[in-house]
Symmetry: C2
Subunit: 221 residues, 2 copies
DNA sequence: CCATAATATGGTCACTGTCAACTTAACGCG
DNA sequence: CGCGTTAAGTTGACAGTGACCATATTATGG
């Protein structure tokens, strides 16, 4: 044990694992796909084809770490977007715009984040052997929760200030409201990736209009 | 040329291509993953390891066909869900519930549908060679549009009857409303897959509450 | 200074995706 | 009828891959 588990301190390379994650992230970004070989990641990092196995038991684990890094970056961008706005409504709009923009800028990374990284191992398929690998997507899951927390904070602030029609003391209402926002932004991002990859202006206006629909509702008032 | 291009008429097998799609779909469902080998799909179909190449140029194309089949099944389930309901609001709820249920029942298939199947080939990466493979995800895209159309019809009906606060003649407003619904349902499905895989009751209640939030809006009225 | 565990390397194996060439079967046609 | 043509499927082959093993090397604790 090194004692400080959070600070990975490889001995020989300097900081492999970070280098591997960076190389894999670069490959995902360049090829817009994660079908590259683990050996190529090792090649980019300048190590032998087996060095990555000292840090990641399987290829999926490396991809999971890349997804976790993507979630962390997404969280940072969301926090930066809401840093200089006051009202919860403006924060929600800015946060959604930053979120969608991040997804559109790197669709493959976004798909990786919500793809196999979060997929839990099928429980019913394995007949008897219950491998303790259930903790594999834990890293990506935790990072995703970190990003989700940004949205939840905005919802909570809005509820406290009375600008959202939910009770700030009802955990259930808060959770539903946060989930509906998270759903809308997440779904919008995936659809934006598919439909309007390129025109950045259209993304902003579309985000604004859809978030307005979400805030004001679909039924006549 | 056989003359009828839409009707695949294999000579030797009866209907390979359909058999391959079925085998691949079964594998996706069983293993909750599409990392299986193309050779295993061929094995399941009882053909040699190279027979699939007569129907799909690459493995991705077979996965795209599986995704398209998944979209068709999703569309059918949505249509069946709204067949016996009257009001647009009830149709929206039933449609969303069916959608989410389908996603939760087969998460891997759902992820495949919105994963690499819809991913367009990166345009800026390929330096010069512009391969004419841009039509690869076309099949899945078209099938996805078919499922999306169900939601759009509900929105249009609601606008016509005046139960939704949008103009039935404004193409733009209709598109935004449909997109916001599609986004919410799609995002909710992905989040439901991650959080509550199993409890089916919770899915229904959560869908109802979130769709109500969407219909009535988040801000006080 | 050594013992130990962590870290990287080279070697190996079954397997994969894809290409090329060959065989089989159905059709069209003089 | 034989003939070529073409689609559909088969066999063989090759480079490359993921994952494992044993081995070598280096940093860290004592």
């Amino acid at each position: 044990m090194t004692g400080a588990e959070s600070i990975e301190r490889p001995y020989h390379h300097g900081d492999l694992r970070r280098a591997l994650i960076d190389a894999a992230l670069a490959l995902v970004t360049e090829e817009q796909d994660w079908s590259f070989s683990l050996r190529e990641v090792a090649r980019r990092a300048g190590v032998s084809h087996n060095a990555p196995y000292n840090h990641f038991p399987e290829k999926r684990d490396l991809l999971g770490a890349v997804a976790a890094a993507g979630f962390d970056a997404l969280r940072d961008r969301m926090r930066a977007a809401i840093a200089r706005v006051g009202s919860p409504r403006a924060a929600l709009l800015a946060c959604a715009a930053a979120y969608v923009k991040a997804g559109v800028e790197n669709p493959a990374l976004y798909r990786l984040m919500f793809g196999p990284a979060l997929a839990a191992p099928a429980p019913a398929v394995r007949p008897s052997a219950a491998k303790p690998d259930s903790g594999r997507p834990a890293e990506a899951r935790a990072a995703g929760a970190g990003a989700k927390a940004v949205l939840e904070e905005i919802i909570l602030r809005g509820a406290e200030r009375g600008v959202f029609a939910i009770s700030a003391t009802s955990k259930s209402e808060l959770a539903v409201a946060a989930l509906s926002n998270w759903s809308a932004v997440h779904g919008l991002t995936m659809l934006a990736i598919d439909s309007l990859t390129g025109s950045e202006l259209a993304v902003d206006t579309l985000v604004n209009r859809i978030m307005r629909t979400l805030l004001e509702g679909l039924e006549p008032r």
